[in-house]
Amino acid sequence: MGPDAVATSEPGGARDVVLRVVRVSKTFPGTVALKDVSLELQRGEVHALVGTNGSGKSTLIKVLAGVCAADPGGEIEIGRRRFSASRFGPADAREGGLHFVHQAPAIFPMLSVAENLAIGRGFEMRPGGRIAWAEQRERAKRVIARFHIRAEPDIPVGFLRPADRTLVAIARALQDQEGEHEGVLVLDEPTASLPGPEVERLLEALRRYAAAGQTIVYVTHRLEEVLRVSDRVTALRDGRVVDTVATRSIDELGLVSLIVGRAVDAPAPVSRSGAPSVGAALLVARNVAGGPVASASFEVARGEILGIAGLLGCGASEVLRMLFGDAPISSGELTLDAKPYRPQSARAAMDAGLAYVPADRAADAAFHGMSVRANLSAAGVRRYFRGMRLRHAVEKGEAGAAIRRFLIRAASDEQVLSTLSGGNQQKVVLARWLRDTPKLILLDEPTQGVDVHARAEIHDALRKAAAEGTASVVVTSDFRELAHLCDRVLVMVQGRIVGEVRPPALDAHRLTELAHFTPETAP
């Protein structure tokens, strides 16, 4: 009796299991997202979860958060309590001490650290509904010390360094655990938008929490972080657990093999000696940098469909915005048609013959309450203004032609855009640009949230445009789509282009491998 009790209560003793996932499956209509997934979390470990997009990581996290019910049959065990995975709800997750902090943590930048810590939890109150500020500050001080945050209680969180902002969110999640480090902290891509030194600081803090007994699940695409911060790592592929291994027994190459599911070679360095195909190049970028883009050099040929593969936060989307004059370029050279090109605005880029389809259609591309016709003409209304008035009949005719050519399913050109399906809205945005045969169209996630049928039609439209001489640069996190659609794909990692893949080597696996490797920081 005695020795047993000592063994279990002693921290750092025999590692006890905090959470166990047993044979959990999740089927969506048409796809199996999780298949018989089993997982054990030990007290005080940092457990990394890796896998490609669509491997089931996100679904597993959602099941653990209780926001997505698993298929009947699986179990989730927290401490001594057992739950059926199909009936595990958000309240169970909360009671079980599971805490989730996402990539963009829900902090309030204008409120102080003390206020951020109190929000959602409740303020220290005095009788009569008054906030007890002195107690509030004291409590905040204790939490700040406990979580090693570089901050004072009264500083607005917006003034903190990015890593400390994330730590505030973590502290808010964990502050009320009864024991110092009870429960499980689940971090979902916490470093995707953090700059280098800040990542360092966050990882350091996580190691410290783990050493004190905090259990952490760390979801990331960045394998070098997995190697640095985690004790064990579980790889998922196609909804199944490939393996769970001790981190010290594996290296980056081994991890990529687990993720991709076959033996891999280290990526060959990009061959820069290959003579640029003179005359054919439409756009040439040399060491272009700005924001998260450290250095990007590449060429786009006339009529080519070029892909850029990369993981969340790699900088590929910013490359598109820089080319379209919508993000500042801090250094480097760009030429378009062999002439220097440095757009200062979207207008300038459009005048040079570029077009841009942003990733977030609702926020950046759609005029929701306006007609399909007005949406199609949005980038060039001026051409219909002849003889001091808008030629509505001409506009209507051209809109009808675009609707037919791009297979947009709309009752008429007068239909309000927001009443169309997502795929058809996307075709309208695409048609807005493609009907004028731009020199170069930049596409960020062009088929996100679009059904299979519309996706094929969008691909066809891009290929037809390419045949007419329009070059495309496509950025998407769906590597299968890149492999399927593009003539050539560049791989971008942490702001640098680290490789190029052409057929016949061009497939989703190869892109995944390359995208997961850490670049050697070349001068």
């Binding site: 926020a363 005029f367 309450g369 306006m370 007005a374 309000v416 009443t419």
Partner: protein, 343 residues
């Protein structure tokens, strides 16, 4: 094999037809059924008829008709001016005080500086445009909330008017040729109605038949997307305020013509009715969208109702309550329709 292909093709086109049919239905619902588009016009007719039958000797007279039309022309011009920034997604709470300012400036130019009418008119219109430019600059370039900016500007202008006039009306030295314009009739209709018609046609042309009108709608609908199709969002917002200010300035000149002078209190009576009319206008003719004909119908609907109530001997407070309630209901209804419109 061939069989399967044909089958799937047929199924595909059947599905397409169904989607198209569904889309037609939704599209019709979105543009609004006839009744919704013309509900306000019908209500207007009903109210007019009701008072005409009840008060044949006071309401249904040429005099009362001329009175309403004459009095409301300036309000209608201010209401039309108000919808330009509203379409671009910005509120302007300074419309009333800008009208007051341009009225005083025009009257003062005529009375104290003996300026020719065209110079005085340019002063009024130019001053309106200048205040609009200031509002637009602060809102678009400095990113200050439009409500706060225009409320602040309105308050400052009210103070300046008070400082300049000592609260006294400017009544002398207004040329008769101008006051004739304000009180006279052409072809049996008040001359101010012709001025309103000119402004309405201009605004309608600007909004429906020039790229600028389309740009205003685009910026109001989604400023990010507007930027990414190459529009200079800041400049478009500023221009909406400038044009709006110039139109209000024109309204100010007309107000001098009607009143035969400049009353420092003028501006106080215009803000709420003008906004009521603008929002109520967005519920008719083109539901869910601020539009010129709807705005004009709203102005005269509100004025006719108020006139009918007044002539029925209802107490003064009713007018205030009616205008306030109309604004609240109009804002609620146009927001609701706008949301339905935008899905």
């Amino acid at each position: 094999m061939t069989q399967t292909t044909t089958e799937s093709l047929e199924r595909g086109s059947a599905a397409d037809a169904a989607t198209a049919k569904e889309a037609t239905r939704r599209s019709r619902a979105m543009r609004g059924p006839f009744l919704q588009r013309y509900a306000l016009v019908l209500l207007f007719a009903a109210v007019g008829l009701f008072f005409a039958v009840r008060l044949p000797d006071s309401f249904a007279t040429v005099l009362n008709f001329r009175n309403i039309v004459g009095n409301q022309s300036v309000l209608a011009i201010v209401s039309i001016a108000a919808i330009l920034p509203l379409i671009a997604g910005q509120f302007d709470l300074s419309i009333g005080s800008v009208l007051g300012l341009t009225t005083i400036a025009t009257a003062s130019a005529l009375s104290r500086f003996s300026a020719p009418i065209w110079v005085a008119a340019l002063v009024g219109i130019g001053l309106g445009a200048a205040v609009g430019a200031f509002n637009g600059f602060v809102i678009a370039k400095l990113g200050v909330n439009a409500l706060i900016t225009t409320l602040g500007v309105a308050t400052v202008i009210t103070g300046l008017i008070s400082l300049y006039t000592n609260g006294l009306s400017i009544l002398t030295g207004i040329p008769e040729s101008l006051t004739n314009l304000g009180s006279g009739t052409w072809l049996g209709l008040p001359r101010t109605l012709y001025a309103l018609a000119a402004v309405a046609v201009f605004a309608w042309y600007l909004l429906e038949h020039t790229p600028f009108g389309r740009y205003l709608h685009a910026v109001g609908s989604n400023p990010n997307a507007a930027r990414l199709v190459g529009l200079d969002v800041d400049r478009i917002v500023i221009r909406s305020f400038v044009v709006s200010g110039a139109l209000i300035g024109f309204g100010g000149v007309l107000e001098v013509a009607r009143q035969g002078g400049g009353n420092p209190q003028t501006g106080n009576f215009f803000l709420m009715p003008a906004l009521s009319a603008a929002f109520l206008g967005a519920t008719s003719i083109h539901p869910g969208r601020f539009n010129v004909p709807g705005t004009i119908v709203s102005v005269f609907f509100l004025a006719t109702t108020v006139s009918g109530l007044a002539l029925s001997g209802v107490d003064n407070w009713v007018e205030s309550v009616f205008n306030g309630a109309a604004l609240a209901i109009a804002v609620g209804l146009s927001t609701y329709l706008g949301r339905r419109h935008a899905g």
